[in-house]
Each structure stands twice: as structure tokens, then as C-alpha cells.
């Protein structure tokens, strides 16, 4: 059965996007972002998401917040509840008031995590079946998981992320449907690997170099996969499972360590579309 979510996304145009600080191993300030190309690539992503049958809502970009484009980190959506992120790095904390304002304006309830934990939203928390799989170490605290679970009423399976290059869960794990997911155990500790193994009946296990091409950072819309790259072995397996693959060029965003999943925040997690707050 296809994913019950992934048909409505929040995105933010890259009007003020750039690599102006370095908070992950992919970011290098000396690398110049081609702003026009970035806008072109982002627009293309919006178009293919729409073509695949999903709805895109827009968050306005803000000067001085280059990473606001990576809406996946805004927070955790669960039904009509939005739990805003608590960014580990001060550079990104300015994004939260704008994220919260959007969700409030669009009818979501907002409940906050305790002040003393870090948690970077859907970047580290992805639904699989009846639970959230949540990563911790580089950007989110293990402690935040208990708070996410209690606020959303959804059990959390914690996975320790061990590779700083794959610093968010959504670079190592990509739910495909109710039985399958892309998994990069090279970026997890043994306990986390065991936990995911228990949870996912048919994992597509990625090699480290495949994971480092950000293949797990794909957007899945029903049977369509929008991928930043598609190593042949992975592509063959996905096609065998009946997925249509579209590789979307996102070279400018990769300079900041982000792929298609990072640029999107699923708004229909944890509830049927009908229960969703109305778009204004």
C-alpha cells in the first residue's frame, strides 16, 4: 500500500538562499551558489511535485534566512498539530518564528518542545507505519524524542546517526510505502539498525556511497519518486517495485547539503487529507 502521506508539501522559494555559514560538512562558504539556477531548479521541483499529483503550499522567503528553503526542518507535522523545531545552530533559529506564523495562519495548533532539547523537525523524524522513526546526535537530541512522542501521541523509534555527513535522518531513511524504505545502516549505530530492521519488512539497503549521493533524500508521491540522484542498482530495485523515478537536478542546494526532501515538508502526516486544516 502506498504511503498515507506525501500529497501536500510546504515549500519556500530560494530568493535569499546561499551558503553564508557552515553548519554541516557539505557547506563551504567559498562555494558560490548560482542564485538564478537555484531558483530554476527549485521551480522545477515545484512543477514535478505538482505533476506527480501533490499540492504545494508556499512559505515566503525572508532575507537573512538562507536555509528557510529547507522547510523539512521547520518542525514536525502530526494531523492538525505543528511542533516547531528547536534548531541546534543559532544560524537557523531565526527561521522558527516565520514557520510558526505560517502554521498558525493556516489553522494548525502549535505546541512547543521543551526549551532544553534540540530537534530539527521532519529532517529527523519520518513516519513509518504507526510510528515515527527519529534520528539523533548531530542535530536532534535523543531526549527530544520523548517530547515529540508525548506531543504527537505517536511512538518514536530512536536511531543514532553516526556519520556527520549524513547528519539528518532524512539523508539515511526514506519510507517508500507501508513495507519498504530506503535505509542507510552505514550511517546508524548497531542498535538503531536493529530497530529499523524490526520495523521495516522490506528495506532497500543503501551502500554508503549511494547514501552519500543523497538518494534517501527523495520525495515520494504515491508511486512517483523525485530523486536527486539514482544509482543504477537502487533504480532497478525501485522500478521492480513499481516506482516511477524522476531525477531532479538540485546541484545548487546540494552545496548546502540538502536535497528534495529537505526542500519539502509534508503537511499531511498523521491524518487523512480530509482532516487537514483548510488552506486559506
Amino acid at each position: 500500500m502506498s504511503l498515507s502521506w506525501g500529497r501536500r508539501y510546504l515549500m519556500c522559494p530560494p530568493s535569499f538562499f546561499g551558503v553564508v555559514y557552515e553548519i554541516n560538512p557539505w557547506m563551504h562558504r567559498e562555494v558560490t551558489v548560482d542564485v538564478d539556477l537555484a531558483m530554476e531548479q527549485w521551480q522545477h521541483l515545484v512543477d514535478v511535485i505538482g505533476a506527480a499529483g501533490a499540492q504545494v503550499d508556499l512559505l515566503e522567503s525572508e532575507p537573512g534566512l538562507p536555509d528557510l528553503v529547507f522547510t523539512a526542518n521547520a518542525g514536525v507535522v502530526s494531523g492538525d498539530l505543528f511542533v516547531p523545531a528547536r534548531f541546534r545552530h543559532a544560524e537557523r533559529r531565526g527561521e522558527t518564528p516565520f514557520d510558526v506564523a505560517w502554521f498558525v495562519a493556516h489553522g494548525w495548533r502549535v505546541e512547543e518542545l521543551p526549551a532544553e532539547v534540540d530537534h530539527e523537525g521532519a529532517g529527523d523524524t519520518l513516519p513509518f507505519g504507526a510510528v515515527f522513526v527519529s534520528g539523533y546526535r548531530w542535530r536532534s537530541d535523543a531526549r527530544s524524542h520523548a517530547a515529540v512522542a508525548s506531543l504527537t501521541g505517536t511512538p518514536v523509534r530512536s536511531v543514532e546517526l553516526t556519520d556527520p555527513r549524513l547528519y539528518h535522518l532524512d539523508l539515511t531513511f526514506c519510507p517508500l510505502d507501508d513495507r519498504r524504505a530506503l535505509c542507510a545502516p552505514d550511517a546508524w549505530d548497531d542498535y538503531g539498525t536493529k530497530v529499523v530492521k524490526e520495523l521495516v519488512p522490506e528495506p532497500l539497503v543503501l551502500e554508503l556511497d549511494e547514501a552519500l549521493s543523497f538518494v534517501a533524500n527523495s520525495v515520494v508521491i504515491d508511486r512517483t519518486m523525485l530523486m536527486p540522484a539514482c544509482p543504477p542498482r537502487v533504480g532497478r530495485q525501485l522500478e521492480a517495485w513499481g516506482f516511477d523515478i524522476e531525477v531532479v537536478a538540485l546541484s545548487e542546494f546540494m552545496k548546502a547539503g540538502g536535497g528534495p526532501r529537505c526542500l519539502t515538508l509534508a503537511l499531511d502526516v498523521g491524518s487523512r487529507l480530509l482532516d487537514q486544516p483548510e488552506q486559506q
Binding site: 524524542h145 530512536s158 530497530v195
Partner: protein, 402 residues
């Protein structure tokens, strides 16, 4: 040994976080004790586990805590104990922490200090980087006393393991084979002596009346007793039986009252008062045997506590009961085993001041007496309901075979 309490919360069972944290603790060569476990009933319910983590020293403990903190295990939000200065001598501040006899630690400046001398029904005084129990009457104005329950941790009494106290499963022994109990008590005394801990005997006058004074004197002579607590009666009758052959006027040998025997103990007390002390009576050759004699000969510390019904009393008796208990306190450091022999008053007074870890055997013909001690919070007390005369003789035969 450094200990810190941590807490892990969430879906820590299914996420294997608990397993990971426990593995990390063990892998670091540290130890843990589970303080509280609350496992979620369904997979939706979170679980919570509280652990006391112990490592060799503060440094390795902080390193370990840093490691497990990454996995969500946090120091329990604990605060330092609150200290309030006494405003007058002999009076604890309002809301003072009232102690148990269990091992206790107090948190000050973020560090846990074990209480040096656990004793029940006392206050806790912090000073000079240590925390001590102090009975109410001994506090002085300005002493910093722990107030409230915050920052105080009490170790639950652990179930004795292995050979230690295996036979303590039932508290009172009226229907147990006595020979077995006696040999097990003998084993504990041997173990105490081998470990270099002290053996304390608390004796009541019935020890003398039942003819157990000579074997008890043998135990003292042979080094099986390190400390004696008793009252005016025990010491008096012990010396009366040595000097005049009677205990409260009853012939020890014949078991019959002798004429004018009721005044025998008064004459002995009077003679010893004349000489100024029991030690002097021994030096003078007035007392030539018995338990008190052997104590003096061996230089064994003894504390004789007085009471309102005392005759005399003997010059060595503390007429001030508060001073008597203080004198007992001064001597109990290092006691590993306490033998309470047919004594209600002194046994309970002793039970009150002993830390919970001291193995205590309470021998009395009256079941009410032996249960009373355990009821008063002396966790390690075993009651043996039997005639004390037979018990002491059997014990002496086991420890000092002729």
C-alpha cells in the same frame, strides 16, 4: 566510588535505547542499580527508567554520564540539600531531615557525600566536607543542618546475598532447631573476627540469673567480645555471683534463695562504691572472676547505662541516660555483629544507634522482645527465642571448645 542518578524516558525499550545505555555503562566498567522502572503498557506508552550509576571516581563517572547523555539519559534534576543553621543549642531547625539507620548520602555543591555515621532519629549536620548524624541534644547553635528531603538519598536495604544471613528469611526462630541457629551465629562471629569488625554484646541481668555469666566471661577472655553494653543490674549480679555466689540472692550453684540473700547485691554495690570503680575492685582483688572482671583484665570498653530503678548504682554507671547513649555512640564505630542477650532496654537503645548494616542477633525467651527490635527498623536483626543461659553456653562451646 561516585554515584549519580540518571533518568531515561520515551520509547526506550523498542528503540533499544535502554539496552544501549545499560551496555555503555557496563562497557565503561561502571555499575548501575535500577531505582525505578515504569514500562509503557502498550507500544504507544512511553517508558521511564531511573538508574543509579556508580563509577570508580568522579572523573570516570562524568565521562560516562556525558556518553549516555547523548542517548537521552540525563542526570535527574536533583538539587543540593538545603542547610539551615541551628539557632540554639540542642534544638534542630524546623523541618529538619530525620534520619534512618540506612546508608544515606547528602548532595552539597553538586556532589554526594555519604553520611559518615548512619543512625536513626537524628539530624544531619554538614561541615568540613563531611555530613554526620547528630542526635538532637548534641547540636549547637550555628550547626548547619539538612532541612527537607531534597538532596538526600537513602539506599534501600539490600537483600543479603550468598552465605551472609541466609537463615534470616523468617525473623523469629521459636520453631527453629536451636543448635543450627547457634552454629550459624558462631559462624557470623568467626566471620566478623576474620574481617576485623567488632563484636558487641548487650547483656541483661537474666544472663547472670540463668548461669550464662561464666561462659560469657570465657567468650570475653578468649577475645570473642570487643565491646559490652549493659545496665547496673547485669554488672551487679555478675560481680555478686563472683563475690558471694548468688545472683539477686539466689545461689547460682543450688538454684535456691539463701538467707538474707536479697541484700547480697547491695553489699557488693556498696563495696565497689567504696573502691570507686569496678576496675579498682578488680585491682584490689575484691572481684576475681566473671564478665566484668574479664572486661577489666582485657581493657575492654564497656558502657553501663543507668535507669530509675537502679540500686546503688555502681560507680561506673551513667546516671544521666543521655550521657549513657552518647558514651555508647562513641564506641560503636566498627561494630560488625551485635549480640543482644536477654535485654530489652539496652538492646533497643543499641538498635537505635546502630547503622542498618550491623548484623544483630537478639536472644530472649520472650518473643515480644525479639520482634520488637526488628519492628523498630533494625533490618538486619534476627530474633532467636530461647533460654539465654543455654544459648550462651552452646555458643561458647562452639567458639571455645575445651
Amino acid at each position: 566510588m561516585a554515584t549519580e542518578r540518571i533518568e531515561i524516558e520515551g520509547h526506550i525499550i523498542d528503540s533499544l535505547i535502554l539496552a544501549k545505555v545499560l551496555d555503555l555503562i557496563v562497557a565503561a566498567g561502571a555499575d548501575y542499580q535500577v531505582v525505578a522502572v515504569d514500562i509503557g503498557r502498550t507500544q504507544n506508552d512511553p517508558s521511564r527508567v531511573v538508574l543509579d550509576v556508580s563509577a570508580l571516581d568522579d572523573d570516570s563517572l562524568s565521562a560516562l554520564l556525558e556518553t549516555v547523555q547523548v542517548h537521552g539519559a540525563n542526570r535527574l534534576a536533583e538539587r543540593d540539600a538545603v542547610l539551615v543553621a541551628c539557632d540554639r543549642d540542642g534544638v534542630l531547625p524546623e523541618g529538619f531531615y530525620s534520619t534512618t539507620n540506612l546508608p544515606t548520602s547528602v548532595r552539597l555543591d553538586g556532589r554526594w557525600h555519604p553520611v559518615v555515621n548512619p543512625e536513626m532519629d537524628c539530624g544531619l549536620i554538614a561541615g568540613g566536607d563531611e555530613v554526620r548524624t547528630v542526635p538532637m541534644h548534641r547540636v549547637r547553635a550555628g550547626d548547619e543542618v539538612v532541612v527537607g528531603y531534597g538532596g538526600v538519598r537513602v539506599e534501600a536495604p539490600s537483600k543479603a546475598r550468598g552465605v551472609t544471613f541466609e537463615f534470616m528469611s523468617s525473623e523469629v526462630s521459636s520453631e527453629k532447631p536451636k543448635a543450627l541457629l547457634v552454629s550459624q551465629v558462631a559462624d557470623r562471629l568467626r566471620a566478623a573476627r576474620a574481617q576485623g569488625t567488632k563484636i558487641l554484646v548487650v547483656a541483661g541481668p537474666a544472663v547472670v540469673h540463668t548461669g550464662a555469666a561464666p561462659p560469657l566471661a570465657t567468650l570475653v577472655r578468649e577475645g570473642w567480645v570487643d565491646l559490652l553494653f549493659a545496665g547496673n543490674g547485669f554488672a551487679t549480679h555478675d560481680m555478686e555471683s563472683n563475690v558471694l555466689g548468688t545472683s539477686l540472692g539466689v545461689s547460682i550453684d543450688a538454684g535456691l534463695p539463701i538467707e538474707h540473700g536479697h541484700s547480697n547485691h547491695l553489699r557488693v554495690i556498696n563495696e565497689i562504691r567504696r573502691r570507686g570503680s569496678i576496675a579498682q575492685a578488680v585491682a584490689d582483688g575484691y572481684v576475681t572472676g566473671g564478665v566484668m572482671y574479664e572486661c577489666v583484665r582485657r581493657g575492654l570498653p564497656f558502657v553501663l547505662g543507668g535507669s530509675v530503678r537502679d540500686d546503688g548504682p555502681l560507680p561506673d554507671v551513667y546516671a544521666d541516660v543521655v550521657a549513657a547513649v552518647d558514651a555508647m555512640r562513641e564506641n560503636i564505630a566498627g561494630v560488625g555483629v551485635a549480640l543482644m542477650l536477654a535485654s530489652t532496654l539496652h538492646a533497643i537503645a543499641t538498635g537505635n544507634i546502630l547503622p542498618a548494616g550491623v548484623e544483630t542477633f537478639c536472644v530472649d525467651i520472650n518473643q515480644a522482645v525479639v520482634t520488637k527490635l526488628a519492628d523498630r527498623g533494625s533490618h538486619q536483626a534476627l530474633g532467636i527465642v530461647t533460654d539465654v543461659g543455654l544459648f550462651v553456653r552452646d555458643l561458647t562451646e562452639q567458639l571455645c571448645p575445651r
